[in-house]
């Protein structure tokens, strides 16, 4: 039964004061915590962004090779839904810029959530190498898929890859992760066909 005796519309000023005072206290707690978070964030945000970009740079060097003449050029406005960022890799030789390939930072949906791969492509659109940027797969199951022994099987592929056909077999017990990697590589290859190849041809022709 609702108690109506003291909560009628005619709320006295002391009650109003209490309501406001309590609300104000909650407001103060919230503000203090927010300020604390703000400061912690300002200290760590830089490091977080730095770390992420460093990881990508390191992965690019691992896949494409450590060439002192290499330039990494992020391409803008090219990503579709599964592609986060695209980097064009050129090499400056004798003041002539020669295309080495592309690195596509793409995401995939694994067992433990989203994971991110860096797929390196040769100038002709075949897979040069794959590197894992971040993941939350289970140790011993999904993580086994995200190792070089499986990922290197994609090297040299240029068209739609299907699991189970030929040499790429899903890791037993980790089907979800294997399928996720495959579909990610496929979408990167599609992306190359649809977007990067043309841009490349345009450049060469123009």
């Amino acid at each position: 039964m609702l108690n109506k005796s003291s909560s009628k519309k005619s709320v006295s000023t002391t009650e109003l004061k209490e309501i406001f005072a309590t609300g104000l206290k909650l407001c103060i707690f919230m503000s203090v915590i927010c300020v604390m978070l703000f400061f912690v964030n300002s200290i760590t945000a830089e490091k977080i962004a730095e770390f992420e970009s460093k990881k990508i740079n390191d992965a690019i060097i691992t896949i494409m090779g450590d060439d002192p003449n290499m330039t990494i050029e992020p391409l803008e406005d090219l990503g579709d839904s599964s592609v986060k960022e695209v980097y064009k890799i050129d090499s400056m030789v004798d003041e002539q810029s020669q295309l080495i390939g592309y690195c596509v930072y793409a995401k995939a949906k694994g067992y433990g959530g989203e994971f991110n791969l860096l797929v390196g492509l040769n100038a002709d659109g075949t897979v040069k190498g794959i590197s894992v940027i971040s993941d939350s797969e289970t140790v011993g199951i999904g993580k086994k898929v995200l190792t070089d022994s499986f990922l290197s099987k994609f090297n040299g592929k240029s068209e739609g890859v299907t699991l189970g056909s030929g040499d790429i077999v899903a890791v037993s017990g980790a089907t979800v992760t294997s399928k996720a990697v495959t579909s990610c590589v496929n979408s990167v290859l599609d992306f190359y066909e649809s977007t990067l190849k043309e841009a490349d041809t345009d450049e060469n022709n123009g």
Partner: protein
């Protein structure tokens, strides 16, 4: 004249031992089992999670104890959650910045620390009724207790399910581990057996003391 209810003096050693052994939040009170099942797939994850929970417990217990006379009764729950969420966000940012591999391994379970039963239960039942120092000790003790329980389960699951401990292969590379131990089913089994063992041992000790 008002007579006050006599409160027992809180002994710090008692609080410490309670949190770690006698009233271990996981093995005796059966709290916080969800993150245990999910993050106990490797010992490294376990340590990371345990440290994160201990950090949050320690600071939130201190703050809540400091503010216990100021927080009005009616907004108690909201205030506790704000404070706990604040510290969880802090540890989340710290982990992302300085231990990113651990942060991505633990994934969504770091933010889920906010609704971890243990933290809220200690805030509600201990920190809101006791002084700052006992609350701080209780926070650390429960955190250590949680870490110990989590580590035991993780060690078993990692050894049996992956053949490794902290990443080192202890049975040789060709060992075929029982991968099901790393699945949720294995987690339930392991946790169940560990709790049963603990109950058995404490019963025996209890009987021995009495007889």
């Amino acid at each position: 004249m008002k007579t006050t209810v006599k409160k027992n003096k809180v002994s710090l050693i008692g609080v410490l031992l309670d949190g770690i052994v006698f009233k271990n939040p996981v093995l005796i009170q059966l709290l916080g089992m969800c993150p245990i099942l999910a993050t106990s797939t490797s010992l490294e994850n376990a340590f990371g999670m345990g440290v994160a929970v201990t950090f949050v417990l320690f600071f939130s217990n201190i703050i809540i104890s400091l503010l216990r006379k100021i927080i009005p009764e009616k907004i108690r729950i909201a205030a506790y959650i704000i404070i706990i969420a604040g510290f969880v966000s802090v540890i989340d940012m710290i982990l992302k910045a300085y231990l990113p591999s651990l942060s991505s391994s633990l994934g969504v379970f770091i933010p889920l620390i906010v609704v971890n039963c243990i933290i809220f239960a200690r805030a509600e039942s201990f920190a809101s009724k006791n002084g700052v120092i006992p609350s701080a000790v209780d926070g650390i003790a429960c955190g250590i207790g949680f870490t110990i329980a989590l580590s035991i389960v993780s060690a078993i699951r990692e050894i049996l399910g992956n053949g490794t401990i902290l990443g080192f292969h202890i049975f040789g590379e060709s060992f075929q581990p029982a991968t099901m131990m790393l699945l949720p089913f294995g987690g339930f089994l392991t946790l169940g057996f560990v709790i049963a063992l603990v109950q058995f041992v404490t019963d025996k000790i209890g009987k021995g003391g009495n007889k």
